[in-house]
């Protein structure tokens, strides 16, 4: 009797994306350095996990391994208990640059994954693209070319494109780092709205500590190359997060904690 709630607890909180002893070495020579090593991380379904760490510590490498674009040389990544050996259909990726195709309109860029994967799309797909564009406030730009949009709007299109195939897992590699501070904050809140409306398991890479704290449930802090886990921080700030969250004392504590990890060990002050 006592076990029952525990069991259901563990099944809802079960690891969805799981990394066990994951490491990677690009260079196959035996004495070559690892790019990332010993990453153990379990991400629950619909959890928002951020990764922060110094440049070159292997964040993008980690993301590529979860995406199935790169098979780890050590350890194993699995999704829903299945090892990841190739890209999965239920994963959407958002890159640092929006990476829109300059010869397609915004709508056609959003529909591109279908066109590219299957060769065509249906009227109902188009309807879905329009709905997603509306949700992102881009309806009036649907027939414009990407170059006519601001950087922030282009990145929104990039996110909408990743949502088209309704992925369960959303991988984002420094998606907002090309944007100015104001746009960046706004688009972060918008991402949380989207995430709330269409829950997804998010792995979010960023260089911005405050962005990580503002958005995430948990934050993986990585060390310098070869990147490994320094800490896994639970962000116990209430949701929905807002401008007030940023002003709270806990927010400052958490950002300071992470800043300590990133700057202290190697800064000779």
């Amino acid at each position: 009797m006592e076990n029952k709630p525990l069991e259901s607890e563990s099944s809802t909180g079960a690891a969805y994306v799981s990394m066990k002893g994951v490491g990677h070495k690009y260079d196959p020579r035996p004495d070559a350095a690892m790019a990332v090593q010993d990453i153990d991380l379990d991400i629950h379904r619909h959890e928002f996990v951020s990764v922060v760490g110094p440049s070159g510590c292997g964040k993008s490498t980690l993301l590529r391994m979860v995406a199935g674009l790169l098979i780890p040389s050590h350890g194993e990544v699995s999704v829903f208990n299945r090892p990841v050996t190739e890209p999965r259909d239920d994963v959407g990726i958002v890159f640092q640059k929006a990476n829109l195709l300059p010869w397609l309109t915004v709508r056609k860029n959003v529909l591109f994954p279908l066109k590219h994967k299957y060769g065509s799309y249906s009227a109902s797909d188009e309807k879905r693209a329009n709905e997603l564009l509306e949700m992102a406030g881009l309806t009036q730009f649907a027939d414009k070319m990407p170059e006519e949009l601001s950087g922030g709007m282009q990145q929104r299109v990039g996110i909408v494109r990743a949502l088209l195939l309704n992925p369960d897992i959303l991988l984002m590699d420094e998606p907002f780092s090309a944007l100015d501070a104001l746009t960046r904050e706004q688009i972060g809140f918008d991402l949380l709205d989207i995430w709330k409306a269409q829950p997804k398991t998010v792995l979010f890479i960023t260089h911005s500590i405050s962005e990580a704290v503002l958005l995430s449930d948990r934050i993986l802090v990585m060390s310098k190359r070869p990147g490994t886990v320094l800490d896994l921080i639970e962000v116990d700030l209430p949701r929905p997060r807002s401008q007030q969250t940023i002003n709270s004392a806990r927010f400052a504590e958490l950002t300071d904690l992470i800043r300590g990890y990133i700057y202290e060990p190697n800064t000779p002050t």
Binding site: R64, K97, K117
Partner: protein
């Protein structure tokens, strides 16, 4: 004061606007003056007026016959080299082995002087269009292969990762991502190639032909009709320039997004 200033700036603006044309006109006038004052004989450097007169002394229909002969060979050679260069570049981009085998071969072909090989080609293929088209093709296809391959390889790696993450078939990666990304490069290759195509056709005519602008120039020179040879030469340059511009217009018309952004 108030009136001279705008006038002055207006003049400056107009001069600036027509500077290229003015420079060109100035050059032609200078040329005419040198010829007339220096009494330069026509067979050394004909004056612009003599060239114009020579141009109109040749019947219009004869010009058209020669023009058509040259244009026909140039455009067929150009089309053939596009037809060869595109699949070749795709193959070299897709297959490392093919790249390793073909690249040295291409460089050897490119560094062989076509003028020296042209007579051999004529011996092999005869004195008709096919040999001239082949000579033109040999001159034009290398820049096309280089620019197309470069363009396809410069596709942003993230776009390729997007394609891989979708597990899309390779041919769609090529057609929907790589080739469109290569369009600006392909067109700079096409612009170089189209002017080389005219040169190729003329080289072929120098070796063996009974018509064409190259043949016309050679034949005029051998009869010491120097102003007429110059008229042919200038006509040829204008045609070459128009073809170059047409490639730009086609790019503007079909691929407006591929033009360099004006900042």
């Amino acid at each position: 004061m108030n009136q001279t200033l705008p006038l002055k700036s207006w003049l400056k603006y107009q001069v600036n606007r027509f500077a290229p044309a003015l420079f060109f006109i100035g050059l032609v006038i200078l040329w005419e003056i040198i010829c007339v004052v220096g009494k330069v004989p026509n067979y050394i450097l004909p004056s612009p007026s003599a060239i114009v007169t020579a141009f109109f002394n040749v019947e219009f229909s004869r010009w058209m016959t020669h023009l058509w002969a040259t244009l026909r060979v140039a455009l067929m050679g150009f089309a053939l080299s596009i037809a060869i260069a595109l699949p070749l570049s795709i193959g070299m981009m897709r297959s490392e082995l093919m790249n390793r085998i073909l690249y040295p071969a291409l460089i050897v072909i490119q560094s062989t002087p076509v003028v020296a090989v042209a007579p051999l080609i004529i011996v092999l293929l005869g004195t008709d269009d096919p040999s001239r088209v082949l000579i033109t093709c040999l001159i034009t296809f290398f820049p096309l292969v280089v620019s197309t391959t470069t363009g396809m390889l410069e596709t942003p790696p993230e776009m390729i990762e997007l394609s891989q993450s979708l597990r899309a078939p390779r041919y769609r990666e090529t057609w929907q991502i790589r080739i469109p990304y290569a369009i600006p490069h392909i067109f700079s290759g096409l612009r170089v190639s189209i002017t080389l195509a005219i040169i190729g056709a003329v080289v072929a005519e120098f070796v063996a032909a009974e018509e064409g602008l190259g043949y016309f120039i050679q034949f005029s020179t051998s009869f010491f009709k120097i102003p007429q040879a110059f008229a042919g030469l200038i006509f040829l340059s204008i045609i070459s320039l128009l073809l170059f511009k047409s490639v730009q217009w086609i790019q503007m018309w079909l691929f407006p997004w591929s033009l360099p952004k004006k900042k």
